[in-house]
């Protein structure tokens, strides 16, 4: 067994790693991405709010500011090539007082300096005309038409699909445990002792960028997880906004936002609290209350009754809150892409360009492939198709007519496509197709998806997981596993004499 030797290995298949992989796939290079989870986008990017920021939040001169504004402009072309859901719906920041209007002025100035197009300060009438659902005590604010929304995991999926189409190797379930360096080549070992060799290593390991840096004997820094809780509200929920609505920002975050998603649900959040545990994805009642009271301060119609789910994400932050994208000072040919918190998603295409520049500075020869194909096909989605189109699809493949997920209108064919593209967990299928993301949260479609997964992959029911690792969906089969109760439950209840009704 020869160990594969790559020019470049990227550690981490989140939005940064995937954007870099796709950019590098334009050149004649052997590139691999190593991801410790079973699927891409399952780390930090999974819980992203999905906002394409306009570029007025950060001070001119910071690295993240430059990359944010540049990244924002790159999304139209990416959207045309990669077909992920994206809409430039604009961003609004609302102010409740003259003090807050002063901050709006600062943001406006920053935006102008950062080259944000179309950014304007709104008076009371203008802001309420733009966003009729705002509470009356909003006295004015900022409007940035270039802001937008995307589905973050679908963006990452499409970046990676495009990268793989152009020759990048993806190794999922590859947790980098140790590394050796000799004669200009790194050897990276996984937990299960798989090996990969590479001349260059890009550390885009998100929350674990500091651990990976230590494994590579590179620079010493510390990633502090900053937890954010988000709540998703039903489609047609009251208070659904036209733009993304921001409050005036605070010291460590952009505040609690009201975000209309591309698919018509509504997201509110995130909170921001620094924690120690990189695995702590728990939500709390206290923060639920905070999120709703903050959101309702801006749009009164928002109601807790319409929550369909909640989740928590962790931002990988560094002291100083800027991105850290640079050649390692200690380990040769290692590039650090660390501290990519907000606006990392917006900046990601620009991060990829920046990293490519660093590689070139380091002396890597970049030769364009003659056969780079920037476009990936748009997956067929019956949710977005008209009757004629669906009739044709069903004629070609009847399983397009089998609706597996009623809430989000997802067909069996779409689930099969997700599986064939490598999304073989319940969450992977959910993020690729939206099956299980709707109002019933998988109550009706889980068993159907399990059956399709078993049929398509040949795995047994007890091997299926929610998101890899030990997240098994079931714990065995009835009567076949020889597992019996300790207590004999032989006390069968007597038949009810008075014939009380059954339930339901």
């Amino acid at each position: 067994m020869s160990i594969p030797l790559y020019d470049i290995v990227i550690i981490g298949a989140g939005v940064s790693g995937s954007a870099i992989a796709r950019k590098l796939s334009e050149y004649r290079l052997d590139v691999a991405v190593l991801e410790k989870h079973v699927d891409v986008s399952f780390g930090v990017s999974k819980a992203n709010s999905g906002i394409i920021h306009a570029g007025f939040h950060h001070k001119p001169g910071a690295l993240k500011t430059t990359l944010e504004t540049r990244g924002n402009r790159m999304f139209d072309e990416l959207h045309r090539e990669l077909n992920f859901p994206f809409k430039r719906i604009g961003i609004i920041v609302c102010a409740f007082s003259y003090e807050e209007m002063k901050v709006i002025n600062v943001l406006h100035e920053q935006g102008i300096k950062n080259g944000v197009e179309g950014i304007v300060i709104c008076n009371r009438d203008k802001i309420h005309e733009l966003e009729p659902g705002l509470n009356r005590d909003v006295i004015g604010g900022l409007y940035a038409p270039s802001g937008g929304i995307i589905e973050p995991y679908q963006f990452v999926f499409s970046l990676m699909e495009s990268a793989r189409k152009n020759g990048v190797d993806l190794h999922t379930d590859f947790n980098v445990e140790r590394a050796e360096y000799s004669a200009g080549v790194y050897t990276l070992y996984s937990t299960y002792n798989e090996k990969v060799r590479s001349r260059y290593v890009i550390n885009a390991a998100g929350l674990h960028a500091d651990d990976v840096s230590r494994i590579l004997h590179a620079d010493d820094f510390k990633i502090i997880p900053r937890k954010g809780e988000e709540y998703i509200l039903e489609r047609n929920a009251k208070g659904f906004p036209r733009q993304v609505i921001f409050p005036v920002p605070r010291s460590n975050s952009k505040g609690i936002l009201i975000i209309p998603t591309v698919y018509g649900t509504m997201m509110i959040g995130p909170t921001a609290e620094d924690i120690n545990d990189k695995e702590d994805y728990s939500t709390t009642y206290k923060n639920l209350e905070e999120v709703f009271s903050e959101a309702r301060r801006m749009v009164d119609a928002i109601s807790k009754k319409e929550i369909i789910t909640s989740f928590a994400g962790l931002r990988p932050t560094l002291k100083g809150n800027d991105f850290y994208i640079d050649l390692s000072k200690k380990a040769p040919n290692v590039i650090q892409v660390a501290g990519i918190q907000s606006p990392g998603l917006t900046a990601s295409p620009a991060i990829a360009l920046y990293v490519t520049g660093l590689l070139e500075d380091r002396g890597l020869r970049l030769v364009k492939k003659r056969r780079f194909d920037p476009v990936i096909g748009k997956p067929h989605r019956i949710r977005d198709s008209g009757a004629e189109e669906i009739t044709k699809l069903i004629e070609k493949d009847p399983s397009y007519g089998h609706v597996v997920c009623r809430c989000e209108c997802v067909s069996e064919a779409e689930v099969v496509e997700a599986i064939r593209k490598g999304h073989t967990t319940l969450d992977g299928i959910k993020f690729y197709t939206r099956a299980g993301m709707g109002r019933c949260q998988g109550g009706f479609c889980t068993y159907k998806i399990m059956k399709i997964l078993m049929r398509e992959t040949g795995t047994g029911a007890d091997e299926l997981t929610k998101r890899g690792g030990m997240s098994f969906l079931i714990q065995g089969h009835i009567s076949t596993d020889g597992w019996y109760p300790e207590k004999n439950a032989s006390q069968q209840p007597e038949k009810a004499e008075n014939h009380e009704p059954a339930d339901r």
Binding site: S282, T284, S310, F311, T446, A489, A496
Partner: protein
């Protein structure tokens, strides 16, 4: 004429569970041609996963299991040429214009099918409330199921969802699942209920919990879910004056959580065509003929309001089908109806209108748990009839009949209001 079927239907029935099947059989008896559309492979809906008995006592005077109950209706439908059944077929939209409504269906066999009929009967049943709806804090590991999904996984797929479960909510499905989990060899470490009394029937408390020594924690709230990949446990706290008393919180180890925290009528299709929804039932407002706010669109069964018993669903659906038959054959404007409202201590009343000339059967759900209660029926604020009830509780629906004699003092019109209240 309908594409591919060549039949002109009188009614299209959406959903082939207990409600849809009973409505279809009665439509056929009344001489109507109808189509049932269901997204599953078989008719019968949720009945097939309810393998416990206790069904059919009112309908068939015997105790049946869910599948046996379903089978009787499936047989009836099979014997009637007037009912066309479309399985594996999902209704994705309705064009509710008059006189002919178009029901848009996706199916692997028929492609995009459009069924037209002057009447549509909504029989989509309900869905279970889930963890997101109740905002339970904690992590999001695998091993959290709604009780109905667990029931499906066990009774139809043959899986063991988990080895050690905590059940949130003491609704009947949760109680039935506590017993079922025990019978497949799993441990049930407890059932939590935020109310001071169980949500399910007393019979189920004794037969599903007490017989198996499963603890029931009344007035307790699950304040947190633990576990990274798979559920590892829950934190439970007693509720004092509606607030969790964190000082007395304790943990229960488990690898599985089943939720039995209520049902929500599935009215997304209804809302899309502009059917007005009653916030107390989450089902459509219907008049005394079970017609929704959209002319020619009717609703019955759990899509209208959640019933205690499947027998009552079948009965209501037959009544609804009778009204559909009358609607399709009657000439001239329908007679006017008065309004029915839920008064003090009543959550809701169904239907929301009453007839002046004939009996209107009203169903209502009490807000209170109480013995020796006075049910009073008032017309425009004046009590016209009272009745003593031995016991009421929210988990048991109450039936009362509004007779023409009760409302004879009123001039017919839609301005009269009848209120049902408990004291």
């Amino acid at each position: 004429m309908n594409q591919r079927t060549g039949k002109a239907y009188d009614a299209v029935i959406i959903g082939g569970g207990a409600a849809g099947m009973a409505a279809a059989v009665r439509c056929a008896e009344k001489g109507l041609e109808c189509a049932i559309v269901d997204r599953e492979e078989t008719l019968g809906g949720i009945l097939y996963q309810c393998i416990h008995n206790g069904f059919g006592i009112h309908e068939f005077r015997e105790e049946l299991t869910g599948p046996e109950y379903a089978e009787r209706y499936v047989g009836e439908i099979g014997r009637r040429a007037a009912v066309d059944v479309f399985l594996n077929s999902t209704v994705v939209g309705i064009d509710a214009g008059t006189p002919k409504k178009r029901v848009i269906v996706y199916s692997p066999f028929y492609g995009v099918l459009v069924l037209t009929a002057p009447a549509v009967i909504l029989c989509m049943g309900c869905r279970e409330r889930n963890r997101g709806n109740i905002g339970t804090a904690g992590t999001r590991p695998s091993g959290i199921f709604t009780a109905g999904l667990a029931q499906r996984l066990i009774n139809i797929e043959g899986y063991v969802p988990g080895r050690n479960a905590v059940i949130m909510g003491s609704g009947d499905i949760g109680l039935i699942m506590a017993r079922r989990m025990t019978w497949i060899g799993a441990k049930v470490s407890g059932v939590t209920e935020i109310l001071p009394y169980p949500s399910g029937l007393s019979r189920n408390i004794s037969q599903c919990l007490n017989d198996f020594n499963i603890p029931l924690y009344l007035s307790h709230l699950v304040t947190g879910i633990f576990g990274r990949d798979r559920v590892a446990g829950v934190e439970v706290a007693p509720l004092v004056d509606g607030k969790a008393d964190h000082k007395r919180a304790f943990s229960i180890e488990c690898d599985t959580i089943l939720l039995s925290v209520g049902l929500i009528p599935e009215n997304e299709l209804s809302k899309e065509i502009g059917v007005a929804i009653n916030q107390d039932t989450h089902g459509p407002y219907v008049d005394a003929n079970y017609m929704t706010s959209v002319e020619g669109v009717f609703a019955c069964g759990n899509v209208l309001h959640v019933h205690d018993l499947v027998d009552f669903v079948s009965e209501e659906s037959r009544r609804c089908a009778d009204c559909v038959a009358r609607y399709l054959t009657s000439e001239g404007p329908p007679p006017s109806q008065g309004t029915v409202k839920a008064g003090p201590n009543v959550i809701y009343v169904v239907p929301n209108k009453f007839h002046y000339q004939k009996d209107t059967i009203l169903f209502f759900r009490p807000f209170i748990v109480k013995n020796n209660v006075m049910l009073s029926v008032s017309l425009n604020g004046k009590v016209v009839r009272t009745k003593k009830l031995l016991h009421v509780q929210p988990s048991e629906m109450v039936r009362t009949i509004l007779k023409p004699a009760d409302v004879e003092k009123a001039d017919p019109g839609d301005h009269n209001v009848v209120e049902i209240s408990l004291r």
